[in-house]
């Protein structure tokens, strides 16, 4: 339910997706494939970060970096996406702590997983079905376990209160515990989840650490945020310090025989998040001393891009990001409730300025689809007026709107140096079409909060936003961003920042959700995307960016796993030593 966050681009069930994947080659992914030759165990891998980890509590993790690292290091999930051989390849859904990827009943409403023997916590006790059941239950304690995805609340067959909250209040308050005990049951090592509606891709959602195990006797509620208790190959040495990091060492209770995913080659992994992204990249590019053993999950800042090719040849990765950056036009604003004004803005948008300011066409591509090109549903809607926009045509539309020119608009964006330049370029195009643009940059840590506040409803006409799918289906894009029923409430617009509220569109969402054939369903999502962009002009898609990463010279097997979050996959990483 948050915006940046995790992403998966392709799933097993959607082999068709490869047709639209940027890197078309279909290498069968397998845990044992490694392009870097025989990898050696041992050594210390250093992870340099410029962004702080908000949560390590498996149920509270919703940032792609932490889903990836959490799963690969210390939190095994029932299913996961396996590592891939080459950057950008599609990963397959595989069993992790479960014996297989789950079995679903004929009506699609009951999922069963069996937990492997020999999966142990770091204190030697076995990971049981009850641990998984307890883990998932924590998601329901929405007042304590904040920040994580709420797919469990959405999917499981537990009644809702009148205000939309779940009748089960989590393991601390225990209100409605009997309802939960009916929805999730344990029989021996087999866990059964009962769904409210047919959910064909529940086993994809189960790759998130939010569906991971948690031991009840280790639960300290909010205090568990950084208290890592491992059932994976590594455990935390000492404690985790927020904004600084910590050190992971081998968990001797982890049995490689139970694990086909993780090679767990380095003996030790240090995680330093006290850096700024600039110094971090200076160090990575220089690659001196210990930094030769370093990788990062931060993408290179625009200002460092020029040094990446020359300074780190053969040590960098440029790979499509799972995000789409777009503008929402606010239906509650006087100006943007006028369809002609929306059309004019869409026509006048100069994406070439965005591309240049964000690092050039190697790393940024203009788009007119809300759905990312990595998803099977990508409709590839053509740009309305080329990548530069057409101010003359836009002016005609704006004149037809009947508004007094120049039309004043307030445009908000997440403030950073790159976006400042991006929006001054976009402003030039809009002003040429007859708008008078007032740019309002809002600091990153307040940005989405401000958009989601009900006070902002009539303040801003146009807002920047970014979104990536939670798992490889546009079911986690279109309804998450445009279904007014699930998003807009008295508490704000949810992710429907533009207050797009269209009964026909909502009906179309329901119809699409009910389509059982994956190919047909994704195609229908694509059509809805095109409609909202070219008929309603509710959304102006801007660009898709590419992630640029740099790694140290001694690091081997660092491959970006686009299906599983889009970052370097730690499963196969080793350090030459």
């Amino acid at each position: 339910m948050q915006r940046t966050k995790i992403v998966a681009v392709l799933a097993t069930t959607m082999g068709l997706a490869l047709a639209v994947s940027a890197c078309g080659s279909n290498t069968t992914p397998s845990a044992s494939t490694s392009a870097a030759g025989p990898a050696s165990a041992g050594g210390t891998l250093s992870i340099l970060m410029g962004t702080a980890t908000e949560h390590w509590d498996p149920q509270r993790v919703y940032v792609g970096v932490n889903i990836e690292a959490g799963n690969r290091l210390f939190s095994r999930t029932l299913t996961t996406f396996g590592p891939v051989a080459k950057d950008g390849d599609a990963a397959t859904l595989v069993a992790d702590a479960a014996t297989d990827t789950g079995t679903v009943s004929a009506d699609g409403k009951e999922w069963k997983f069996t937990i492997k023997d020999g999966v142990k916590w770091e204190d030697g006790k076995a990971v049981t079905c009850e641990d998984f059941k307890y883990g998932v239950s924590r998601t329901f304690a929405v007042d304590v376990i904040t920040g994580g995805p709420n797919y469990a609340i959405q999917f499981l067959d537990i009644p809702k209160n009148k205000d939309g909250s779940s009748a089960y209040a989590g393991p601390y308050k225990k209100t409605g515990q009997d309802l939960y005990d009916k929805a999730v049951t344990c029989s021996g090592t087999t866990i059964t989840f009962k769904m409210a509606k047919p959910t064909g891709d529940f086993n994809s959602a189960a790759t998130m650490t939010a569906f991971g195990a948690f031991r009840a006797d280790k639960d300290q509620g909010d205090k568990s945020n950084y208290a890592i208790f491992s059932d994976g190959p590594y455990k935390l040495e000492g404690t985790w310090t927020a904004n600084k990091g910590g050190t992971f060492v081998r968990n001797d209770q982890w049995d490689p025989k139970t694990d086909t995913i993780r090679k767990a080659l380095p003996d030790k992994i240090t995680w330093d998040e006290s850096l700024t992204q600039e110094t971090e990249y200076e160090r990575l590019i220089a690659g001196q001393g210990e930094d030769a053993n370093a990788i990062t999950f931060d993408q290179a800042p625009v200002t460092a891009l020029a040094n990446v090719e020359g300074g780190a040849p053969g040590r960098n990765t440029i790979v499509a990001s799972p995000y789409t950056r777009y503008l929402t036009l606010n239906y509650k604003s006087k100006v943007m409730s006028n369809i002609k004004a929306r059309e004019a803005l869409a026509l006048a948008t100069d994406r070439s300025a965005y591309v240049a300011a964000a690092g050039g066409d190697t790393v940024v591509k203009a788009t007119n689809s809300l759905i990312n090109p990595g998803l099977p549903a990508f409709p590839n809607t053509p740009l309305l007026a080329g990548d530069k926009g057409d101010p003359a045509k836009a002016k005609e539309a704006l004149t037809a709107s009947g508004l007094t020119m120049p039309v004043k608009i307030n445009v908000t964006y997440r403030k950073n140096d790159t976006n400042d330049k991006v929006f001054s370029g976009l402003k030039t195009g809009w002003d040429a079409a007859g708008f008078e643009t007032n740019l309002i940059g809002i600091p990153a840590d307040q940005y989405y909060g401000t958009l989601q506040s009900p006070d902002s409803a009539t303040k801003y006409d146009v807002s920047w936003a970014g979104w990536g799918a939670d798992y490889p289906s546009a079911s986690t894009v279109i309804p998450q961003l445009l279904d007014s029923r699930s998003q807009i409430s008295s508490g704000g617009p949810g992710q429907d920042y533009g207050y797009f509220d269209n009964a026909d569109f909502n009906a179309a969402i329901d119809k699409t959700m009910a389509i059982t054939d994956a190919t047909a369903r994704e195609k229908a999502w694509g059509e809805l995307d095109t409609q909202v962009v070219t008929k309603d002009f509710a959304i102006v898609p801007l660009i898709n960016d590419q992630f640029v990463f740099v790694r140290g010279a001694n690091v081997e097997g660092a491959v970006v796993n686009n299906t599983f979050t889009g970052y370097y996959d730690l499963a196969n990483v080793s350090v030459k030593h």
Partner: protein, 331 residues
Amino acid sequence: MAETGVVEPREAVDARDGAVEIIGRTPWEITRSRLARDKGTLIALCAAIFFILLALLAPVLTYFKVINPYSSNLDLIGGLGSLPKGPLGGVSMQHWMGVEPGTGRDIFSRVVAGLTVSLVVATLAVLVSVVIGTIIGIISGTAGGRVDWFFSRVIDFVLSFPQTLMLIALSTIVIDILQAAMGTDRTPASMVFMILVMGFFGWPYFARIIRGQVLSLKEREFIEAAKMLGASPRRIYFKELLPHLWAPILVYTTLIMPQNIATEAALGFLGVGIQAPTPSFGSILNDSVHYATSDPAYFIFPGVTLFLVVLSFNLLGDGLRDALDPKADRQ
């Protein structure tokens, strides 16, 4: 510059030897002659005038498209990271300081337009300081006693405030309020904010100097005479005291100016000051430091310009102080 220390009023020499008729000169004439002999200050004065003229002309030059601080030149940038093409950050006949990475905007134009913003903010902030400082200084100096004690403590209080911290902490909220009150864009609102805050934190310097001057002046014979003759307090303030205060006010104005320009740049650097896309020294430097390794020219040109502006005002202020106050010791 060292010769300023040995300057002697000419009439004193003339009077002693008695051969030449005594020429009466006003303080301004004395100051001018001292200044004329101080080459460094003269150069600084010319530079300051040049920068002020450039700042005043910038809006006109922008209007007639002689300089173009806002237009992108996407053909002049390219490659991974959208850096300027060509050496020294894309320096050419059209773009004397090169172009900005990411947009291709002309850096010279942005520096000139930024100079306007920075100087307007610095000057108005000094004006605010001068007005508040002079009024409080005169009141404090003439009233004495409890009033003086009270204002002196207020001055201590304001001076001990962590100014930069306050600016950063207050900026978002106050700028929002100003923006709502003024009904304008964010740029004028943040300019007003900076003027008010820098002006507010600058007045104690003036108040202290003025108070000191007033304390010594009010014991002088001409004030006593005016009082004895029954002059109104109003006359004493404006006709007797104020003319003697112009010199310190002028000196401190020229000394606080560069301080304000630098503060504006520092705040812009911290992301508090003038917001993009309006150029100012702060917002330009804030962006350019990130390119310190990949495009150093982008940092060097605006940085050197800022250095020259601040240096010229500083030297001018020092020179003026020497010229206006022969007793001031530079050592």
